[in-house]
Symmetry: C2
Subunit: 152 residues, 2 copies
Amino acid sequence: MIIRKANVRAGGAEPQTWRYYSDDGGLTQFGAYVETLQPGGGSSERHWHEQEDEFLLVLAGQVTVIEESGTSVLEPGDAACWPAGVANAHRVVNRSDAPCTYVIVGTRVTHDVCHYPDTGRVLHTEGEQWRIEKTDGTVLKSGRCKSPPGRD
Amino acid sequence: MIIRKANVRAGGAEPQTWRYYSDDGGLTQFGAYVETLQPGGGSSERHWHEQEDEFLLVLAGQVTVIEESGTSVLEPGDAACWPAGVANAHRVVNRSDAPCTYVIVGTRVTHDVCHYPDTGRVLHTEGEQWRIEKTDGTVLKSGRCKSPPGRD
């Protein structure tokens, strides 16, 4: 199925917007979105997944990636890989003065644990249910996933 | 883990070359490669997977996608999605007079059946073993996969 750039469903709000290619195309095993960050924008706080591989490839602009080992500025054609289960918490920010765009791919799993070390939170996803715990196991919040689980 | 464009492992031979981003980055749940086709080049014959989602996003040039429903010319930002189990056999060719480049993502599964309707062949992958059959079940060829299964 062909997905035209001009027609792909868009979401989010500036400074962070997405184009939901894989959803429009009916993929379920992984998500593949194109995300644009305006200057000063950033993705969610630093995190790592126990069960999901993640891949980022820069398409345009300069993307600053913050990982456990430090900060890197990525240019078009540079990429980042975050294998499932590797405790390399990461986030993406735009510290340049122009928009940046990248494709981000993540495996879809029904059960995952996502760690946010900067705030000491842990997100458990179990089928349609999710809950956020502190690292001591106290439940802070819980709910039911929208479809697809864990996204949007 | 950061993968720099200048350092990513390259393979294939013109007119069809790849950059193996996801392998360099240690991902195992899906493959994410950047492929370049020179004018006149093409990917493997038309096929569809029973078990693997596939995603293609054009990065540069004009990419001609041949599917069951016909032929489409994709420009940068256009994409194609091929969900697992949908009998939409496809291939990619470069009919332009300049190179074209796209990122291609495919789920890694240990067991798959891949159909090549134009030649009446069916590729069965079962763990480390593979075999190619005719549609009547006659085995044409069999062997052991290199790592990772089914790729490279």
